[in-house]
Symmetry: C2
Subunit: 434 residues, 2 copies
């Protein structure tokens, strides 16, 4: 979808004459702004969030009008109705964006939090204090609301952000970013704390990715090819979120009614997202009791099933699954199914075919739950709950900029705290080292 | 120093015929071992640490004999006496290495710790559990004890480690690694949890740095050129520790006797390390009272001073400081000195010339201390204490694999916890998302 969504639609923005110089200037302004923003109070940042929400409500009609330009261009370029729907801003959607800003204002201030402290035998008080990462380079391909979500999370966590959105939302992104920047000015924060890259020239991304002296982290959000490109070219750390090939494993000791509810929810509640289930594993001891009924329910929801031979003995309508099926993130109403001989086989299957994103076990067996959560190496491992819960809001982070499939720095949903670093602040009374 | 220490000394180990294949095999074995090691108990890992300590004591004579080979080769190659001294193993040094292993065994088990939890309104218990990073590629240039330090920290934190030491310590590193690997076998842990790269061919590093599917983090420890090379070539995250251009700032409200003690300790207690002070900033209001006496004490300790004009008015023996002096990590008994007009000027100077490593203020003024700790953007910012405290042991981490000057993942001293990641483990009772 990402590649389609990035098709060349609408007017191309002329690239600045010297991309290298342009990107350096943008990054250098961001770094200046980040230093000021790091010292801003939570009150100032929350004023900005609330003022931005007000401006979005006040100017909803104008924003919708601008957005129509993007939608018309997308239609002319032949984008699918689904993609155009994702692109479209409406009064309810703008209201949701405004409410999102207000919700982020209500979250606790992350910067300056002393989250760890030790008093050493010599009396030194050693503390760790949360500080912003600095400058975030955020590259995205999706809906215009992401412009506001990303900017609000970055600024609330004290980071300056360089936004590089997809060209299909170019006009909408510009209007929303201008509004956020205006609100920065009104509330006395550095206007360069939010910058939207003025060109959709893809080469600009490469230039930004070289500037590790100015940019502290690159966060790509979009299709696999975008993320792989950013990961390959970046000279600074990257926070990636790759595919979710997520599993529901129905254990021998599962409550089968619970298993069915969790399976249906994991697969069908929103099939197009990364934490939706793509594969079902069923212990052979319960396959005969579980699969016929579960298969019926799934098919009633319009889910196409692709199963192993043992699966197809219980669900004749299922097509045969290939090796490739078990590795595939369908993002659609399709589910691969496999009957396994044991918990160990389920765990091995998840290790081989999964993407270390989100996996759940349904069981009432304590040792099975313990083994599954211990040995499955995924960002989120659940017991008796839907995979769809792997989400910043659902986990209590308030909001998220993405779900990291990395192990470094942050794993799973990334909210305000995951956009911070820390420093050691040490208070002494004249201590020297002997 | 790093470049000198890496001079071609001793016998060159023949590179395996196919470096790409060799490095892939090493990394693949490490990844297998990491999966097993992640499930090992703290007891097993501690047994390995203690057994390794015993073996080091039992075989100290043999280890010293092997080490003599490295030292003789280093002499023949004309390495300085100081470098050869760093290389040399002795009974007391081996005893210190053995004790280090036992101390790491006494540290709390990091893997499996539930360090964060929330109960959500729907009853979901959301926890974060500490897990190993996976495979660490550790490249170092220094003394043979680092082989043991790095392996012990990596394995205790559940990580498999690929060690690539400097060629000057080749024989000693091999003997120590063999001993650690033997102890892995004895205690039932995977022998591939510790691997020492069999070639000192520098090209091998480049091959390892491409293997981001197998290696989770690269940690270079050595001179700037090594670290820059690893950072530039790595396709996986890198934990870097760059120069320490560390400052002591003597504020207008400083207790001048305390300031002198902290300054002398920061500069002279061990001048060759990254957290030693390289630059002194003095508020103009106390320059006349502080500098003559401090200069005298420093010179009595053999410290060469390089100062600004105002400094030289109070310490005529000081040589004029150049711009370059203020950026230099001397790692020697040399100190740059500057008189500043204000706290703000001191902070700006540290931002421009410092390396964001370790900086201390000496003051009794609460608001000055607060401003300094808030605005100085360094891994460790201290008040009324020596810069030399920025150290894993001194901060209570038990031991450290290095001091990170990065902002991502870990900043400052990196101990066992900094060698871990986490996963979300979520316990439900059948919850689905609505």
């Amino acid at each position: 979808m990402a590649d389609t969504a990035s098709m060349n639609v609408g007017l191309e923005v002329a690239a600045p004459a010297d991309l290298a110089e342009y990107t350096r200037q943008v990054a250098s302004r961001a770094k200046q702004a980040a230093r000021q923003l790091a010292m801003a109070t939570g009150g100032q940042k929350n004023d900005w969030l609330k003022r931005s929400a007000e401006l979005i409500r006040e100017r909803s009609k104008a924003l919708i009008k601008v957005n129509e330009g993007d939608c018309t261009a997308a239609q002319a370029a032949g984008l699918s109705a689904a993609l155009i729907d994702r692109l479209r801003l409406s009064e309810p959607r703008l209201e949701a964006i405004a409410r999102g800003l207000e919700q982020i204002a209500e979250l606790p201030e992350p910067v300056g939090e002393v989250f760890d402290s030790t008093v050493r035998p010599n009396g030194l008080l050693v503390t760790r204090v949360r500080v912003p990462l600095g400058v975030v380079f955020f590259v995205y391909e999706s809906r215009p609301n992401v412009t506001v979500d990303a900017a609000s999370l970055c600024v609330k966590s004290g980071n300056a952000v360089i936004l590089r959105g997809g060209k299909e939302a170019r006009l909408s992104n510009r209007a929303l970013a201008d509004l956020l920047i205006e609100a920065l000015g009104i509330t006395g924060l550095p206007r360069d704390a939010v910058q939207l890259v003025d060109t959709t020239d893809r080469e600009a991304i490469g230039h930004f990715l070289k500037l590790h002296d100015q940019i502290d982290v690159a966060i790509p959000r979009g299709g696999r090819s975008l993320i792989e490109r950013v990961a390959a070219e970046a000279t600074m750390p990257v926070l990636k979120h790759f595919d979710g090939v997520c599993h529901v494993y129905v254990d021998a000791a599962a409550d089968l009614a619970m298993a069915e509810a969790i399976l249906i929810n994991s697969k069908c509640q929103r099939p197009g997202v990364c934490n939706a289930a793509e594969s079902l594993l069923v212990h052979r001891d319960v396959a005969a009791r579980f699969l016929p009924q579960a298969g019926k329910s799934l098919r009633a929801k319009g889910v196409e099933l692709r199963g192993c031979e043992r699966t197809r003995a219980f669900i004749p309508e299922a097509r045969p699954a290939t090796e490739e099926d078990y590795r595939t993130e369908y993002l659609d109403l399709i589910l691969s199914v496999k009957v396994v001989d044991s918990l160990a086989q389920a765990i091995d299957h998840i290790e081989i075919y999964g993407s270390h994103h989100t996996d759940t076990i349904v069981t009432n067996d304590l040792s099975a739950a313990r083994e599954f959560t211990g040995r499955v190496d995924s960002a989120a491992v659940l017991v008796n709950a839907s995979t769809r819960f792997n989400d910043g809001g659902e986990f209590g982070l308030g909001a998220e900029i993405g779900i990291s499939t990395d192990r470094f720095h942050a794993r799973g949903p990334c909210g305000l705290k995951e956009l911070t670093s820390y420093k050691y602040v040490v208070h002494g009374t004249g201590q020297v080292r002997s």
